[in-house]
């Protein structure tokens, strides 16, 4: 319906034409004269010309016809929707780590569950519900349904995640709930106004803010230091507005190296030194005193053991070979490093397998190595290369380094690398650092790492000639190289990642993934023989594939999410507890046609017109008009 319908539009046009004809007939005749100065002394009319004279009969007729046309065409208005008649509700849950915060033995999510179940129980028959969750991203846990048992089941299945709730995810969740009559938002903190977008104007949004205390101490970071030489340190923060005691423990491979009870001032951040560690390996830190959020009470880090290893450095430039050898020795002084010019190096003459092979501006296939780092890789790679999918262009361009989000390290904004080869990364490689060429906005990969069953491969696109790694103005380049070497020399069966990051684990066939809560699931390998998981809980994941087990430790910390200081709901008022209260206070509004109202107005206009006609006929003594 509406005036997009040609018939209705025709009715409306006819009405407009009728009014125009009337107004035209009522208008004064206009004549053009040579000059108005000839009429300066002519008398002007007492009143101004009135195009629209008082003609009650015409205007009543026009009003009645207008009402009928609008009724036929379809005029709609926002009117309160009647409760219990097919209303739909979107239950949007915040699954950020803050919702898992416990206070008085109950978490925020449990309180939200209770409120949501209360709403579901109180809903009139015929109402529909959908369950939408958000943290890193929005997900529809249960589409719109009238099956209240399924709704209750979906609500019971919700679990808090050890990640921060992103405002963009909240926006996406609200966008998915906009088709509903109402949105019920369950969260522990006031949503930012920009995250709500324009949902407030179209769909009523009710905020259910759960309450919890601010009793939380978190491990911010853990640095193992250099094994046997420098002390490690842990950074802890008290998010409470009150002084707090926290029992803190550091373990190295299940052996306790530090245990103390720390006294925190309100909202104090404390650096706790420990060590130096005598042995490398997996280091874990724990806050043993229970507090609101468990996820940030544990932290893992891998301390390189500085075991003796065998590394190979190939470069046509002797200065580059020296620089890279120095960097490798700085990372692990126990490395035995062999350097060579690729033109004079023979793979057959190489002895035992290398732990790491670093190749600068060259590529020699057939080198037996556990990990490989290609720096400034050559554009032409032999067909037998073990880097499937990697394409390198021969063109060298300057690149401005940009930080990469969600990466273990990032670099400064303004470092310019003079010669960078363009690379097209295969799917199995993840970019670690990217940059832009001057004048362009597209990001180009600068450093990347990939894990496939044959080993780990790192690629750095920039050239390190001319003492680039020792250039004080380009320390970011050195940081990129060091971090990539550290990742390549870390044990292959242990990975420490932040929660929410993707983890690629080379497997053969399928794998069994064991989550920190003990749940097990099967994952199939992709075409690169990798299993890709995304840890959303903090703790230990185990990925079993055949006889091989890869340990993944997921660390959680987010300063804003872990900060449980009470936040006020500044943008939304708390929602009424039940639909009964809500219907009595502010009912949702829906568009409804005004057919009956308009038809009634038309009838009233016709009736008044008839009365006027009857009066005129009586006044003039005529039998009809």
């Amino acid at each position: 319906m509406g005036f997009l319908n040609p018939i209705n539009l025709l009715w409306a046009a006819a009405l407009v034409i009728l009014a125009l004809i009337y107004l035209r007939s009522r208008s004064r005749p206009t004549i053009s004269v040579s000059s108005l100065m000839l009429f300066d002394e002519a008398a002007a009319p007492v009143t101004r010309v009135r195009h629209v004279r008082i003609d009650p009969l015409f205007w009543l007729e026009l009003a009645a016809l207008t009402a009928l046309v609008l009724a036929v065409g379809g005029l709609y208005a926002m009117v309160p929707a009647r409760a219990g008649r097919g209303r739909s509700h979107a239950l949007v849950f915040d699954l950020g780590a803050g919702m898992g915060a416990r206070s008085d033995g109950r978490s925020g999510l449990e309180e939200a569950r209770k409120r949501a179940l209360g709403l579901v129980d109180a809903a009139p028959a015929g109402d529909e519900f959908s369950v939408i969750t958000y943290a890193l991203e929005a997900q529809v846990a249960l589409p719109q349904t009238q099956n209240l048992d399924a709704v209750r089941g979906a609500i019971h299945a919700l679990q808090p995640l050890a990640v921060a709730a992103h405002p963009s995810a909240l926006s996406a969740a609200i966008m998915r709930g906009r088709g509903s009559s109402e949105i019920e938002l369950f969260t522990d903190r006031a949503p930012p106004a920009r995250a709500l977008g324009d949902a407030k104007g179209t769909t009523p949004l009710h905020l259910h803010q759960t309450e919890h205390g601010d009793d939380n101490v978190a491990i911010v970071s853990l640095d193992p230091g250099a094994v046997g030489s420098s002390r490690g340190r842990a950074v802890l923060r008290n998010f409470s507005n009150k002084p707090r005691l926290a029992e803190f423990q550091v373990k190295a491979e299940d052996r306790e190296v530090f245990h103390n009870t720390l006294m925190f001032a309100p909202r104090e951040q404390m650096v706790v030194p420990f060590g130096p560690l005598t042995t490398g390996g997996l280091i874990s830190a724990h806050i043993l005193t229970p507090d609101a959020i468990e996820a940030d009470n544990q932290h893992w880090v891998y301390a390189p053991a500085n075991q003796a290893g065998h590394a190979l450095v190939l470069s046509p430039d002797s200065a580059v070979r020296d620089d890279l050898a120095r960097v490798l020795l700085a990372i692990n002084p126990n490395l035995q490093i062999e350097t060579a010019d690729p033109a004079q190096f023979s793979t057959q003459k190489a002895g035992r397998p290398f732990d790491l092979a670093v190749m600068h501006d060259c590529y020699l296939p057939g080198i037996s190595t556990a990990s490989m780092l290609l720096i400034f890789p050559p554009p032409v790679v032999p067909p037998a290369a073990r880097i499937p999918g990697l394409v390198v262009s021969a063109k060298n361009l300057p690149v401005i380094l940009k930080p990469v989000h969600d990466m273990p390290f990032s670099v400064g904004q303004s470092t310019i690398l003079p010669a960078v080869r363009g690379m097209t990364l295969p799917d199995w490689m993840d970019p670690l650092v990217e940059g832009t060429t001057p004048g362009e906005s597209d990001l180009v990969p600068v450093a990347a790492i990939g894990r496939i069953p044959s080993g780990r491969i790192g690629v750095i696109a920039f050239d390190v000639r001319n003492r680039l790694l020792l250039d004080a103005d380009r320390l970011d380049a050195l940081v990129v190289v060091i971090n990539l070497i550290k990742q390549l020399t870390a044990p292959a069966d242990i990975q420490v990642v932040p929660t929410g990051a993707y983890v690629d684990v080379p497997v053969a066939g399928s794998a069994i993934v064991t989550a920190p809560d003990g749940s097990r699931s099967q994952a199939e390998a992709d075409k690169w023989s990798r299993v890709r998981i995304r840890p959303l809980q903090s703790g230990h994941y185990a990925i079993e594939s055949g006889t091989r087990i890869v340990e993944v430790y997921a660390n959680y910390f987010d300063a804003s999410e872990s900060d449980l200081a009470p936040t006020r709901a500044a943008t939304l008022s708390p929602a009424p507890a039940s639909f009964a209260e809500r219907s009595s206070s502010r009912a949702p509004r829906q568009v409804q046609p005004l057919l009956v109202v308009l038809a009634g107005l038309a009838m009233i206009a016709f009736a008044v017109e008839s009365v006027v006609l009857i009066r005129h006929s009586a006044l003039w003594g005529t039998g009809h008009v």
């Binding site: 004064r28 005749p29 206009t30 004549i31 053009s32 004269v33 040579s34 000059s35 108005l36 100065m37 000839l38 009429f39 300066d40 002394e41 002519a42 008398a43 002007a44 009319p45 101004r48 010309v49």
Partner: protein, 301 residues
């Protein structure tokens, strides 16, 4: 259109006996600015004088020099030709009231006077001014001298269209910028314009040594205010301004008073400056106007 009458043979016959009432210079005299002076150029020899340095060698009498061994310069009688310009107002006000055909009357008068002016083989042209796209435009026909070429005016006269506001001052500016020798300018307009505009324009024509004659043209209806009675919205043809007016006997009388006032103002200025002024109110008066009014006022004789 009324201007077609000016090219009818019967009408032209009545104009054959009329000549324009102007004063001409008889001889060329150095330093004397008299109407018709042509800077000593001509074909009729007048006198000889002794050669002075700087004289044009083309006028040196070589025969005298050969016989008498004296350098003599021949002088000539100037041609007594006078340039006539019929300056017609073609502003939008000349098109209203449509039934009065004021523009047709003005063009017929201009063409008729041009025909009269050609009786003495004088150079005659018709110029019309109007606003075109916001700018004042002065359209002028070529000069014609012989009556055999009188019909050449007809395409120009037929092509004139009205438009825009009356800018008599700007039109006179354009005319004077052509730097023609002083001649006779006959201004034909309804003069429904501000007093300062036409007074300034006519004064500048006089200052340029032109002999100026003025014919004020008004329609029969607007000069008598004989609009059909009733309540009307009247729109100014030039400015677009709209005013509501009740037409009737009183309004007609008021219009006549206003027309008299305006005409009196123009006449008073012309009388004061020695400009021949006459009125042509109503298109039906064309023949009588040409035969009686113009001779009586000295425009023609």
């Amino acid at each position: 259109m009324l201007e077609a009458r000016a090219f009818e043979p019967e009408f032209l016959k009545k104009l054959d006996r009329l000549v324009l009432g102007i004063k001409r210079a008889r001889t060329v005299r150095s330093g004397q600015r008299t109407l018709g002076r042509m800077q000593g150029l001509g074909i009729e020899p007048e006198n000889f004088r002794e050669y002075n340095e700087g004289d044009d060698l083309r006028f040196l009498d070589w025969n005298t020099y050969a016989r008498l061994d004296q350098l003599s310069i021949r002088t000539f009688r100037a041609e007594r030709q006078v340039e006539f310009t019929m300056l017609v107002d073609a502003s939008a006000s000349m098109a209203f009231p449509e039934s009065d055909d004021k523009l047709g009357l003005a063009l017929a008068l201009a063409a008729s006077l041009a025909y009269v002016g050609m009786s003495d083989n004088d150079a005659v042209r018709i110029a019309a001014f109007a606003m075109r796209r916001g700018n004042m435009q002065l359209d002028s026909s070529p000069f014609h001298r012989r009556r055999e070429s009188y019909l050449d005016f007809r395409p120009f006269v037929s092509a004139i269209r009205t438009g825009g506001e009356t800018r008599l001052g700007a039109a006179v500016d354009s005319l004077l910028h052509q730097r023609r020798p002083a001649g006779i300018v006959i201004v034909i307009s309804d003069f429904l314009v501000s007093r300062t505009d036409y007074e300034d324009a006519l004064a500048r024509l006089l200052a340029a040594r032109h002999q100026v004659k003025v014919i004020q043209v008004l329609g029969q209806i607007e000069s008598t205010g004989s609009y059909p009675p009733g309540l009307y919205r009247v729109r100014d043809a030039e400015t677009g301004e709209v005013r509501e007016t009740v037409f009737g006997p009183e309004a007609a009388a008021a219009c006549r008073r206003k027309v008299d006032t305006l005409a009196q103002a123009v006449r008073g200025f012309c009388t004061q400056r020695g400009i021949a002024y006459t009125q042509a109110f109503g298109a039906h008066n064309l023949e009588s106007f040409m035969e009686r009014e113009l001779p009586a006022l000295g425009v023609v004789r």
